[in-house]
């Protein structure tokens, strides 16, 4: 590099283009290169629900945002510093997010009359006063790609033009000092079978990189130094990958073969895909005929002695509810993953929300209590998957594991744990009689859990079902006092679990008046906003719930010990209602129901307003 790099602490870049333009691919590759540089990072893809919406329209715009820094960061960032817009529709959809004074790089070639019309522009915005507050770079990417690849034999013109995303990747890689080598070897592996396409992509990548360098597109490349992360081996994971790995790890640790049944639904299908690839670990996956079948198959698998798992998103949870109630009364281990999306009904399937909390806790007929846990970050999906399996097996209960679209798709570096740190998960199958000569399938241990006796075990033949069972024997019982007792015993398992889970941890400054209490995926944004508030010299306290039902036993004590409690959620106030109702605390909510994560600046503002 001829120019001296300008150092910066953190940067947010957003790639936006048509869904056929390969923006997710470019984003993922830039992320991998960034991880290898040693920056901390957080990413968020944003893709349309339509698989192939009409090209060039705002409905078909797909985007990928990455936030990376030389210190630890907690969210994918609010406003990009740099926006790459591959066509007019991408510009129209994403310009409002770009920070004032930010860098805008557009593929000038795509700003044709036809594309402008499809994007809803009456006239070309390039060169217009509307872009005056940004640093605009018009780059004829398509033309440059065609020129860079014209020597390559057997390459069709359309194939040459399709490399423009890799040109953009090269350009941004130059701007932020990402080394070329790892991306070139990645291209070599990806297109090993297609020599002409490989040559074209490498040429386009280099053309983009060199274009930045030779035209000195920006005054100087930006340097982001490696972040001071804890020592150890890292990889980048999104929530889906982390959850799949957690389920596999828990299955090997417990010796229980996973039996995973699900029905395709956005966004939970990704977990099915991730697990289906794990033949090597004996993961049995079944694509069921419907949501109800999926949860029943998983429950049947559990009865047969496997680790029964099903996964879905909101609408599927409604369909599974009756069977989850059955699992609660059968008292068999079962893990139900709910990747929450924006509802109600079909709602906005590719958008995020935390709207299923109360459904997860209460959404069944009768009284059928079960534990609910909510992952807080993409990497935490690993730990929460392990915890869900541990609880399900120890307490012989269905467990609902809440994720959401944001966690499923967002990625971050993960300090890879050793399996030495996994908790004990002992299936402890019943092997013989437990009451003299008799086997009583509903006798309980110190956790309130009943024996798990699986078919194939001689002498322990027994029948279980949805009808109320007699305490101990498990025989059908309509006795009023027995029903009261069984209802109490089922609820007591949660009380015993509450005693065992870690107390709610509070990160409190001395003299903090306000507690921000979150659950699930708002962990990152609450942390980022708290940091901003602290930078203003204001003391504050934060706490994040993973075990949302039952709550840690000290939750009441904590919320009562602060003058003010703010509960931010991506719903209309579900945890808020619990906090107010359970603990009689006049907590206030900050609620966002837009299908989008809460931004750090919004969170900061909400905290400042709550402080008054």
């Amino acid at each position: 590099m001829t120019t001296t790099a300008k150092k910066q602490e953190r940067v947010i870049v957003r790639f936006a283009g048509d869904s056929g333009d390969g923006m997710q691919l470019v984003g993922a590759r830039f992320t991998a290169a960034t991880a290898l540089v040693g920056n901390d990072l957080s990413t968020l893809p944003d893709f349309p629900a339509e698989i192939r919406a009409p090209a060039g329209t705002p409905h078909g715009v797909s985007a990928f945002q990455i936030h990376f820094a030389s210190r630890d960061i907690l969210t994918p960032g609010d406003h990009p510093n740099t926006l790459v817009a591959m066509n007019p529709a991408a510009l129209a959809s994403h310009l409002s997010a770009l920070e004032s004074g930010g860098t805008l790089i557009v593929n000038e070639d795509a700003f044709t009359e036809n594309n402008l019309r499809k994007a809803g522009y009456e006239k070309n915005p390039l060169g217009d006063a509307g872009l005056d507050s940004y640093q605009v770079f018009q780059v004829p990417m398509t033309t440059l790609c065609t020129r860079a690849t014209e020597e390559i034999e057997d390459l069709k013109p359309a194939e040459a033009q399709r490399t423009k995303n890799v040109f953009a990747l090269g350009l941004i890689s130059w701007m932020y000092g990402r080394p070329e080598e790892s991306t070139i070897s990645w291209l070599e592996a990806k297109f090993a079978e297609k020599p002409a396409i490989l040559k074209a992509n490498v040429a386009a990548f280099k053309a983009g990189y060199n274009f930045g360098e030779t035209t000195e597109l920006t005054a100087a490349p930006v340097e982001i130094e490696p972040a001071p992360l804890r020592s150890g081996e890292y990889r980048n994971v999104d929530g889906t990958q982390a959850m799949a790995l957690g389920l596999v790890a828990a299955s090997v640790k417990s010796g229980l073969q996973p039996f995973f049944a699900s029905y395709p639904i956005t966004p939970a299908s990704e977990l099915l895909h991730a697990l289906a690839a794990n033949d090597r670990f004996g993961v049995r996956t079944v694509q069921a005929e419907d949501e109800i079948a999926a949860v029943n198959m998983a429950l049947g698998g559990a009865f047969a002695g496997h680790l029964g798992i099903t996964a879905t998103s909101g609408p599927g949870m409604d369909l599974k509810a009756e069977t989850i109630g059955l699992a609660a009364t059968l008292e068999l281990p079962l893990v139900i993953v709910d990747v929450q999306r924006a509802g109600p009904s079909t709602g906005m399937p590719t958008k995020t929300e935390q709207g299923d909390l109360l459904m997860a806790i209460h959404g069944r007929h009768g009284e059928s209590p079960l534990p609910v846990i909510a992952a807080t970050t993409p990497a935490d999906c690993f730990d929460c998957a392990v915890e869900a399996v541990r609880i399900a097996v120890r307490y012989r209960t269905p467990v609902i594991l809440l994720g959401d679209t944001f966690l499923a798709n967002s990625s971050e570096p993960w300090l890879i744990p050793s399996t030495d740190t996994l908790p004990e998960i002992d299936p402890d199958f019943a092997e013989g009689p437990n009451a003299g000569e008799e086997f009583m399938p509903y006798l309980r241990d110190e956790h309130g859990a009943r024996p798990w006796a699986i078919p194939g075990t001689p002498g322990l033949e027994h029948r279980i079902g949805g009808l109320e069972k007699e305490h101990g024997s498990g025989n059908i019982s309509y006795d009023p006092a027995n029903h009261a007792l069984m209802s109490k015993l089922r609820a007591e398992k949660l009380e015993k679990l509450a005693e065992e889970i870690p107390p709610l941890a509070v990160d409190a400054d001395e003299g903090a008046e306000l507690l921000v209490l979150g659950w699930g995926s708002t962990a990152g944004v609450i942390g980022a906003a708290a940091r901003r508030v602290r930078e203003r010299g204001i003391p504050i306290a934060t706490a994040q719930l993973r075990h949302v039902h039952p709550l840690p036993t000290n939750t009441g004590e904590i919320v009562r010990s602060f003058g003010k409690v703010l509960v931010p959620e991506m719903n209309s106030g579900q945890l808020l209602g619990i906090v107010r109702g359970e603990f009689l605390v006049d907590a206030i909510g900050h609620n966002k129901v837009e299908g989008l994560p809460i931004l750090a600046e919004e969170m900061e503002q909400a905290i400042l307003e709550a402080l008054g």
Partner: protein, 370 residues
């Protein structure tokens, strides 16, 4: 970002892992009668629970027939699982001294699929009714048959909702007057055998609750079939739909009962005076044997790959008041769901160590921070 664990790179901790392969549980009893278990009797399959169906219900005869059959199959009680749904038939599970699961309405085939697809060492039976299997649970039934899951599905068809006190069911005849349809039902019934054939079932049969020997023969054939077996059992509900099958439910001498025997010409009637032949339009029709001669009769073949023979027999009667075939309509071989696959995956799981998991966690692009 969030860190995780202590960052140490300890690989492998096999001592901490114990194998809990379900296949290791219990004794070495095998499925499918390879090891005869002559010591077992009907009593070994009878639970201590008091049966609570209405006196005179056809379910008693079926329960007795199933309990009597079990010892003949050579599968011990601990490797036998009965799964049921909701309805009078749902209680069946509690009366068998085997492993049993009484699920929710209509979902028994899905529960059973979970059991059978995860364990290839079990004999899995589903007990269902016309409302459970054909109305609320229709989807699970057809997909279990399509997949050819190794489960035996017994559909107790009484053409009525008994447990909810007498509403019409999806097999009730059109015009059925019940409490929910005081002016007669509007919708035509399913033909369960035709439905099962349409769902690509590899074994389809029909029998009658009180025909003890016939019931035993059909159930034995179902048990021996590799893959999904579907058995419709005409079951009398003497409280809400008494006599629905009277025309085909005599003690072996019902005038309209047609017994299908593989390899035999299809004849019926007290003296075998009537038979089944092909009509000019290609459909099957009832003929007078003396008139057409025995050589004109159709010879039953349950093993035909092509379904048209079984389908035509299924369509011979549109209601059990007409000449109606019982016996095995179809019994063909097709790959069984999960066969080989589950064993391979179970072995893979049993062979996977925590060291392998450590390696998996570290796959893909990783980097080290000093």
């Amino acid at each position: 970002m969030s860190g995780n664990g202590d960052g140490s790179n300890g690989r492998g901790n096999d001592a901490a892992r114990t194998s809990h392969s379900p296949r290791d549980a219990g004794d070495s009893g095998t499925l499918g009668g390879a090891t005869p278990l002559p010591m077992l009797t009907k009593q070994d399959f009878q639970s201590d629970q008091e049966t609570r169906w209405c006196p005179g219900c056809g379910d008693y005869a079926i329960l007795s027939g199933v309990q009597a059959l079990m010892p003949e199959l050579g599968v011990p009680p601990e490797r036998t699982v009965f799964v049921s749904g909701i309805g009078c038939a749902g209680r069946f599970t509690y009366y068998m001294d085997t492993y049993g699961m009484h699920g929710i309405h209509g979902r028994a085939p899905a529960l059973a699929t979970g059991i059978a697809a995860s364990r290839d060492d079990l004999s899995v039976w589903v007990v269902s009714g016309d409302g459970d299997a054909l109305s609320i649970g229709g989807n699970h039934l057809i997909h279990a048959l399509r997949r050819n899951v190794p489960i035996k599905i017994l559909l107790f068809n009484n053409q009525i909702y008994g447990l909810t006190k007498g509403q019409y069911s999806p097999t009730s005849e059109k015009g059925k007057v019940t409490k929910s349809t005081p002016f007669g039902s509007e919708d035509p019934p399913f033909n369960p055998v035709a439905l099962a054939l349409g769902a690509e079932a590899t074994f389809v049969a029909r029998t009658v609750d009180v025909e003890k020997k016939h019931l035993a023969g059909v159930l034995k054939a179902a048990a021996e079939h590799e893959g999904a077996a579907f058995v419709e059992i005409y079951q009398n509900c003497n409280v809400f739909n008494d006599g629905a099958f009277e025309a085909v439910r005599g003690k072996g001498a019902a005038p309209n009962q047609i017994r299908l025997e593989h390899g035999e010409p299809i004849r019926f009637g007290a003296e075998g005076e009537r038979g089944i032949a092909r009509a000019e339009d290609g459909s099957l029709t009832v003929v007078d044997v003396e008139e057409v001669g025995e050589e004109a009769l159709i010879v039953h073949d349950a093993h035909l790959e092509n379904q048209s023979h079984a389908a035509a027999l299924a369509r011979l009667a549109s209601s059990p008041t007409m000449p109606t075939p019982i016996g095995v309509f179809r019994d063909v071989k097709r790959p069984v769901y999960g066969e080989g696959r589950q064993r391979q995956l179970a072995d893979a799981h049993a062979g996977a160590s925590l060291a392998d998991v450590d390696e998996l966690l570290r796959s893909g692009d990783t980097w080290t921070v000093a």
